[in-house]
Symmetry: C2
Subunit: 213 residues, 2 copies
DNA sequence: GGCGACATGATTGTCGACAATAGTCGTGGA
DNA sequence: TCCACGACTATTGTCGACAATCATGTCGCC
């Protein structure tokens, strides 16, 4: 693993975790001293994150953290729905017995987190659930695309996760997905995933009228 | 538009058109003299094309044109099916009257190309059909992803297009898609697109046993 | 004759410097 | 007072050079 890759991961993480909020300028020289490396290394990272859709790069004008409007977040979630349904159906077909157990455990933990009203824990379990699903699917093309789309909408995703009452609704949708996968039911798994993401879009759309950003 | 962007487009085109066939090494210094620019510029292009999935880059070992196995081509086409169905349904909803006419014209030209047995023309019209659909959809997220997936599987796509008898089957599937879109029938458009790509996968799968690469 | 260590060459990773460009501030004139 | 023009500054785009790393071929040893 080369230094550029490391910096790319670090910068990606910093963007996703909010160290650099949407719209922030990413000046190469500043990043240079933050990550202690040359400008070429930083540039490589910026180019990569730009093609991932996490940063905007205008010629001679520099890079900024990409701002995702609610409208675009909806598009992203629609695309994610199409792909992640595919992932879910493949997971239902290919998952091992251990993986199915692991998935059930995650759902159980999610229920606990909801009961304890711990939104941070829930958000992390949510990520874990979807990551596990991607691994189970064995469909690396769709899995990679989904992971990227999740990153792109991470900001809105986070706001959604901490929305009061949302977790309680969401957890049952995850349970439905997990249950279908446990039963090796590809079609139901895909449908459950699709329903889950349509529900996410519904919430985003309601926000669109009133919500900020 | 910066020089790096130009070189990126040129290199992408050269890869897609077969100037650099799959597996070919992309040595930075050689590309430097081919495109008449510095190594930094070439590197930028390679990084971008690597994240697009068109080139492989191993640390300290250089870049090569990505080899896509038949298995991966199937995965790519599955993902494309999921996304392009979404694109088709959005196209059915949002397309203008002129765009619907344009789509019908393309299908008519395709029929002509099939009758004339002109595979090169048909392949080009095929690209045009799908590009037009992406524009009609207004769904930039899905459209960009689909365009990228098409590039990644371009090699197999091309082999499929010149397969004897394939165009005749394919053209009717395109006609079905166009017809659904003309009728503003989102669900049917999506289903027709899905059927089209499942048919593509079917052919790829049959190849998988006997076909080369 | 086969195997492993070592030198060699080719290629990439990283850095600093220079050139080019966009944005900004100040000045002069109408 | 307002607009146009020009210099200045900040930042990016590009280049060449050096260091680091991997692959290859050679030599000696078993």
């Amino acid at each position: 693993m080369t230094r550029t890759d490391t910096i790319t991961d670090d910068l990606r993480q910093d963007i996703l975790s909010g160290v650099f909020p949407p719209g922030d300028r990413l000046v190469e020289l500043q990043l240079t001293q933050r990550y202690d490396c040359g400008r070429a290394t930083v540039r490589g990272a910026l180019v990569e994150l730009a093609t991932e859709g996490l940063v905007d790069r205008e010629a001679n004008r520099g890079a900024t953290v990409r701002r995702i409007s609610v409208g675009e977040a909806i598009e992203i979630t629609e695309a994610r729905g199409a792909l992640e349904s595919l992932v879910a159906s493949h997971a239902a077909r290919h998952a091992s017995a251990e993986e199915r157990v692991a998935l059930r455990c995650v759902v159980a933990d999610m229920r606990e987190a909801v009961a304890a009203d711990s939104t941070a824990t829930y958000a992390e379990l949510n990520r874990q659930f979807h990551r596990l699903l991607r691994e189970m699917s064995g469909h690396s093309v769709a899995a990679d695309l989904v992971a990227n789309l999740r990153d792109r909408a991470a900001y809105h995703q986070y706001r959604l996760a901490i929305m009061p009452g949302r977790a309680a609704v969401s957890v049952e949708q995850h349970a439905a997905i997990a249950s279908a996968i446990e039963n090796h039911d590809e079609a139901t798994a895909a449908a459950a995933m699709d329903a889950h993401l349509r529900s996410v879009i519904e919430v985003l759309r309601r926000w669109g009228d009133a919500g900020p950003i």
